[in-house]
């Protein structure tokens, strides 16, 4: 039982990263119809930024947790204005290739300066201990990540459902033409939403720095699972991306713990789930079938 609880907890912690990344992808896809392949690169930049801030300027983890998402969000907005914006009217393939190319460039720039070896980043000292849950103890940093990610997800949900900005974004996501017809300037919100999605990726990156290897390719592996998460949750569905993120974290952790006799299954379980979900609900768990154009 203790083991099960620990594995569940770990699954949720992994899921927290998936959820934060998938949430960013979902709001971007919803608003811009852009599959942002560069999301993993921005996650990497978040972690690397935290490392550089600490080693070059002595900026601690807590400050990096604010600086990096904001900084990367602004960078994202600049990129949206400079490049992505120009391609949104064309086939989605163009932006997919653009962001893929951007990923390669960002990864190689970091490689050029910092090499491929992972860079060290220590857990902030306030969270380096463990939290005692009675029957088992758990690293304090992981408890923090889970709580923090949940708070961010709830916060985003609150903004989207309870504020005027959120209403505009949701309306523009679901029926962009109709929203425009009501006299709302949808275009104004596109750039900030893109920046916001990128900021979430940067935030996940900073959170990952103390517990994952910080290197130029750290986002490249992860992003594949995150795409699977987004597809499972339903492309563009905000709630779906968060729920699927945590769900896939759990499925992976349980798979590793209880299916270790079948390594082939435990290694591919995410994609098995994706295939099953797509067969059962082609639009994903929480997605809606798109009306034919």
């Amino acid at each position: 039982m203790t083991g099960f609880l620990q594995n569940t907890f770990n699954g949720l912690v992994s899921g927290a990263f998936y959820a934060l990344l998938a949430l960013g992808l979902a709001v971007i896809f919803g608003m811009l119809r852009v599959v942002n392949f560069a999301h993993g690169a921005f996650y990497m930049l978040g972690a690397f930024g935290a490392y550089v801030l600490l080693t070059e300027a002595g900026v601690p983890f807590w400050a990096a947790l604010v600086i990096m998402p904001v900084g990367l969000g602004l960078l994202g907005m600049a990129l949206e204005r400079a490049f992505i914006h120009r391609l949104t009217r064309l086939d989605p393939l163009y932006n997919f290739l653009l962001t893929f190319g951007l990923t390669l460039i960002l990864q190689d720039l970091v490689k050029l300066r910092y090499g491929v070896q992972s860079s060290p980043y220590a857990t902030p000292s306030a969270l380096s201990g463990t939290v005692d849950f009675g029957i088992f103890d758990f690293p304090a940093y992981r408890v923090f990540i889970l709580g923090f990610a949940l708070a961010v997800c709830v916060g985003v949900w609150w903004v989207l459902t309870r504020t005027r900005i959120g209403m505009v974004v949701r309306a523009a996501t679901e029926r962009p033409e109709l929203t425009r017809a009501f006299g709302i300037d949808v275009g104004r919100w596109v750039t900030p939403v893109f920046g916001f999605g990128i900021g979430l990726a940067g935030l996940a990156g900073v959170l990952a720095a103390p517990m994952r290897a910080v290197n130029p390719l750290m986002g490249a592996d992860l992003i594949i699972v995150v795409f699977a998460v987004v597809v499972i949750g339903g492309l563009g569905s905000i709630f779906g991306s968060v729920a699927a993120g945590f769900g896939i974290g759990l499925v992976q952790a349980w798979g590793e713990a209880y299916l270790s006799a079948f390594p082939i299954v435990s290694q591919t379980i995410v994609f098995i789930v994706m295939a099953v979900v797509l067969l059962w609900r082609p639009a994903g768990l929480f997605g809606r079938e798109e009306a034919p154009a």
Binding site: L97, Y141, A208, Q267
Partner: protein, 416 residues
């Protein structure tokens, strides 16, 4: 949408596949040296996962060897025209294969050095055999290079999976703890390492109480399931042996510390680790960890002198791969000098059975039977942060493993 994504992925893959070719023909002569010169080829990973532990700095090490050779022999040197060719094989067997052929055929390379990644290393061994040109492998771990894939022109220089397992598995079992839990990446290298370690541990009187193959590549970067399991096994393991390498090793170690396994009485032993790995994880994260090293830069004055010169060139201390590349280039040049020709068969004849002593090879011997270069190896332990007195001086050598014990006996699989 999904079809679009598929097309995008396919075109992206096509872009990645586009590779360049180059180089002009090289004329051969009838002199003792082909083209009156010697060309050394360094074929390794220059941009990927292994580029820091070897990569471009190994090219520097080879250049140092050439300069030292010229200085030592002066006018008596067999030639003063010694150059280096380099290529990036990106750890891909097919690229290694074509680059090696290009080096031998068109760039006039007499000797190929390094070649990390076992699958790529084995391909190059086949090329060397076919072209009848020399090949000193340094960066790869597979014992097949001196087993079923051995050949007359291939030498395995620095280390192999047997050396790592025998050194770390046996000595750690004897000195630190008998019960092991082994965590390995579930692919050829990891499975090989797990088998070699299990055999060495059992032979030393230890027990493997549990072992798990983690996904490879581990896309989630999470190892907590395995790390949580380790201390709950019965009997409780005293040693966690991890066979992960590079960034995956970094993930395992970070999480090992997060779950405070050392405090729970589970020590850490690492299958394959380079100085650059310790540098990136920091010694504090690894304090007390044992592993087998083929060479350590601060072991004695001789090593240190080389390390100082290397640092002037590169701003880093050498890993064992760097020192081995230096040594291999030196020994090849000396063999050409002694044979008076770069004819591959004559050089092989000079090398076989030779005993060698240099900055990398201690009690070194180039075995004629399987072309394994045997030498002393070292069981190393990462120092606690408080004992680290200068940058890069991260380990202490617990024990020198004599050359005769460090490597396996020649395998019957090897038919030259």
């Amino acid at each position: 949408m999904r079809r679009t994504v598929g097309v995008a992925a396919a075109s992206a893959a096509a872009m990645v596949l586009v590779a360049g070719c180059g180089g002009g023909p090289q004329s051969g002569g009838d002199q003792k040296l082909t083209g009156d010169k010697i060309v050394l080829g360094v074929l390794n990973d220059q941009s990927g996962a292994y580029s820091e532990l070897s990569g471009k700095n190994s090219v520097k090490a080879v250049e140092m060897a050439i300069a030292d050779f010229k200085a030592k022999h002066g006018d008596k040197a067999v030639t003063k025209d010694i150059t280096v060719e380099t290529a990036d094989h990106q750890n891909k067997p097919d690229i290694a294969n074509s680059k090696a052929a290009e080096m031998y055929d068109r760039k006039g390379v007499d000797l190929i050095l390094d070649v990390p990644t076992s699958s790529a290393a084995l391909k190059v061994a086949d090329v060397a055999k076919e072209k009848k040109k020399l090949y000193f492998n340094i960066g790869a771990a597979t014992t097949d290079l001196t087993g079923k894939s051995c050949n007359k022109y291939t030498f395995h220089y620095a280390y192999d999976t047997y050396m790592l397992a025998n050194g770390t598995g046996k000595t750690t079992t004897e000195q630190i703890g008998k019960n092991w839990y082994i965590l390995y990446p579930n692919y050829a290298f990891g499975q090989d390492m797990e088998k070699s370690f299990s055999a060495a541990i059992t032979q030393a009187g230890g027990t493997v109480v549990g072992k798990d193959g983690a996904p490879f590549p581990n896309t989630s970067g999470d190892y907590s399931t395995f790390l949580l399991k380790a201390p709950t096994l019965n009997p409780k393991p005293q040693v966690l042996g991890t066979m992960q390498a590079g960034a995956e090793l970094v993930n395992v170690v970070k999480q090992y510390n997060e779950f405070k396994l050392r405090e729970k009485g589970v020590g850490l032993a690492v299958g394959l680790m380079f100085l650059t790995d310790i540098h990136s994880l920091t010694p504090a994260a690894l304090a007390g960890t044992t592993y087998t090293d083929a060479w350590y830069w601060n072991f004695d004055a001789k090593n240190r002198e080389f390390a100082d010169r290397f640092q002037k060139e590169t701003n880093a201390r050498p890993t064992f791969a760097h020192a081995a590349n230096y040594s291999a280039a030196t020994q090849y040049l000396e063999a050409v000098q002694a044979a008076g020709t770069d004819d591959a068969d004559a050089v092989v004849k000079n090398l076989e059975g030779k005993t060698v002593e240099d900055v990398f090879l201690r009690n070194g011997k180039i075995r004629a039977e399987d072309h394994r270069v045997v030498h002393d190896a070292y069981l190393a332990q990462v120092k606690p942060q408080s004992e680290v007195s200068e940058p890069w001086d991260y380990v202490k050598v617990l024990k020198t493993i004599p050359a005769a014990e460090a490597f396996r006996a020649p395998s019957s699989d090897c038919k030259m």
